[in-house]
Symmetry: C2
Subunit: 455 residues, 2 copies
């Protein structure tokens, strides 16, 4: 343990998590005489804002990930370790991995959030959320497999639940997933099936709030609602989900209780802090908030532990209006850079850092082709301008040039041909999906389409 | 069942398998007054010749696959079904799926091959072969995870097996995998690790034959051997594998028995016919050959069953020299087109088709940067000309333009930056790999590299 700038035994900064917060903290320390170790249970940095495009087949996993050790390969003071951090030991200044321990002088916890089902953990099996690459693979599998089963199901009644898609939660992720589902059904799969019309699929967006995109200004909620309506999406606001299982879900809304038979239910209605947050709270006496976040001081450290920073989604940071800052990539990257500066100021004896101040560049959500909403300071706008801005900004934020080029090509093709390049379903045997309901083929596939249309 | 060209109840051709054989047969029937159903247990056509590049992180799965129903979407007479065919019932002219049955008038079986371990099925758990997208994911996981464990292993003795890579089988797939492994260790990961030098990895290519690439002319074997030698690969020919487990394998060669401790062993030493081939043989009285292939007549049908064609790798087709044709994409595509023509000739009453004649365009194998071998009729050559030819041909053979463009960009980046864009490891919890051996981190990562170099 040391707190000097001694080059022989440099100060050791351990960063847990290689997301936006952790990665930007590590990079901001590149030229400093410290030793940096980034620990993550994945070997890659994930560009989470585009994860919904992997889940819906526009992009492949390799296009929104970059190996952490490759990004940091030229940074001589940085080491990357693949490992799962399961506990923190602040008294001995070490973290506990599933298979080892690691000492630190300063710790930066950037462990992020996971899907949260508000006490209904069993729902996760039926309604995956979208936080990881694994999640995105599972969701893609569910979506495209549902259409495959529908093609083999001769009975329209039995087919309907396979062609009913429900997204729970109408924040940006929920809205983006819903818009993508509508485009898949209307455009991507238009000519692909013989026994039904994909454009007859039913797509539902459910939220307990009174309007969609509740964190956006009212006028943008209205714009988004109109855009989704044009895509044929049914919106149920003021509606709670009371149960979810493999065959559908039960809603409780203004019109009373309703059962919806749906084979594909996606969860975008809540996240909570990584389990490591709870361990850290227990060891430091910090009080987790309702979302499992750790309240940090103005310098992003845990009260009473100036050597432990918490940044990114896992930190509860009061904003200017008193509300906590939202879980967005810019909050995490700015927090990461701030933590690096604060540590170096302290090591150099330059006194305490100025409090962290978040510079809000605005938020956006994309709904579909030519449709997005942007909430940027005093400017609220939607339509094709917001959509083009969204495309450009996200392309520029991708971490390497190769991904930028490949993503650009995928978007261009997807735009002009309505296709989706990444629709790989794994072998039936390895799928995490029920194959019950996949019907007999005796109904002479290939003749069904016209019958179905007439009926 | 019908054998007319009646448009009301058209002749129904069922194709099992959407690989090169099945897909090209279906496409060749596009304008004919028949009904075509393609059944596959995957939803995509796989461009198998580039599968080793997915296994080694250059390409992503979406770049060498294309959804079958998307390829055939404009072909009005074709239906694509996702399903696993488990049996054939020639007497009733139907195939049996895991969850249904399907009647046919003519059947084209193009079910392909799977990895074969010559009676040692248990070896598959330790030494994956490379036949499917799932295989390629598993192999990629094994390769890149081994380096991750090595980074966390402070003991050089314990680290060595994680940095030893063995490929069993020196046909084109084995040689291509070996060349890629060498490039990963020497170039791709050059600066990525702190506690060891990836270029110190040991890469072994083992084959029971007396020379590598045994199906190629001697001079090309020699060229390939030289190229692999320059990449630092150790070649053991005339060497049999007598056992494989999770920690290594035992070799029996000219110098006697040898145990090699290796955490990554890849199998490229044998394939055999899909289990459906055995079912078909049993039902039709055909005699499977040693590799589980079905011997077909000169018109590619099963003797005694003119309504059942077998094409692609699963068919044993005598070549001009009496030897069976090799399991190559061109044999399958030509077989697929031939079967389509033969069926239509018969339906139109134009008499029996001329016997199938394979037009051999030659074979190639790529070894590494600027190194490949080509065996094209009387021309045997290697080096940069063969390598450029290989790149160009494979790019042109990709089924859609978007993939072609993306693969071209990936290759260009990989060539100029030595990087590999697709190195995603899934979460530790979901890995099919042992995590034992992943050591404690107490050995102060970040200091190890120089020690290792000195030691």
């Amino acid at each position: 343990m040391n707190h000097s700038l001694d080059r022989k035994a440099p100060h050791h900064i351990v960063i847990v998590g290689g997301g936006f917060g952790g990665l930007y903290a590590a990079r901001a320390l590149a030229k400093e005489p410290v030793r940096v170790t980034v620990v993550d249970r994945r070997n890659f940095h994930l560009f989470q804002p585009l994860l919904y495009q992997v889940a819906t087949g526009i992009l492949g996993p390799g296009e929104i990930t970059a190996p952490l050790r490759h990004i940091l390969r030229k940074q001589a003071n940085a080491t990357v370790l693949l490992g799962e951090v399961i506990d923190v030991d602040p008294d001995n200044r070490r973290i506990v991995l599933a298979d080892g321990v690691l000492d630190y002088d300063t710790l930066i916890v950037a462990a992020g959030m996971r899907n949260h089902y508000h006490g209904h953990d069993a729902w996760e099996q039926s309604a995956p959320g979208l936080k990881s690459i694994e999640d995105s693979g599972w969701i893609r599998q569910k979506i495209f497999f549902a259409f495959e089963v529908a093609e083999r199901e001769p009975d329209p009644e039995k087919r309907k639940p396979w062609l009913t898609f429900v997204v729970v939660g109408s924040g940006p992720t929920g809205v983006e997933l819903t818009g993508m589902l509508a485009e898949i059904a209307k455009d991507t799969l238009k000519d692909d099936f013989r026994s039904f019309r994909p454009e007859d699929s039913e797509i539902l967006l459910v939220d307990a709030a009174v309007r969609i995109l509740p964190s956006f200004p009212q006028e943008l909620s209205d714009k988004a609602k109109r855009s989704l309506g044009e895509l044929g999406v049914h919106i149920r606001t003021g509606t709670k989900v009371t149960s979810i299982d493999d065959t559908g879900l039960t809603l409780q809304g203004p019109q009373g209780e309703e059962r919806v038979e749906a084979r594909t239910v996606l969860w975008a209605a809540g996240v909570s802090g990584s389990p490591l947050g709870a361990r850290l709270a227990e060891k430091t006496g910090a009080a987790l908030d309702r979302m499992g976040r750790i309240p940090v001081g103005p310098d992003l450290t845990v009260p009473g532990h100036p050597e432990i920073f918490v940044i990114g989604d896992l930190a509860r940071i009061p904003g200017k209006d008193g509300n906590p800052l939202p879980g967005l990539a810019p909050v995490a990257t700015q927090g990461g850079r701030y933590a690096a500066r604060a540590i170096m100021k302290r090591l150099k004896g330059e006194g305490p850092p100025a409090p962290f101040a978040y510079f809000d560049k605005g938020t956006m959500a994309v709904i579909g082709r030519h449709a997005a909403v942007a909430d940027i300071g005093p400017f609220h706008f939607g339509g094709i301008v917001a959509w083009l801005m969204w495309l450009f900004i996200h392309l520029m934020l991708l971490v390497n040039f190769e991904s930028r080029l490949v993503v650009f090509i995928r978007w261009a093709f997807s735009y002009f041909t309505y296709s989706r390049g990444s629709r790989v379903l794994l072998a039936l045997g390895t799928m995490r999906l029920p194959v019950t309901g996949a019907a007999s083929c005796e109904a002479q596939p290939g003749n069904g389409r016209e019958e179905n249309r007439a009926g």
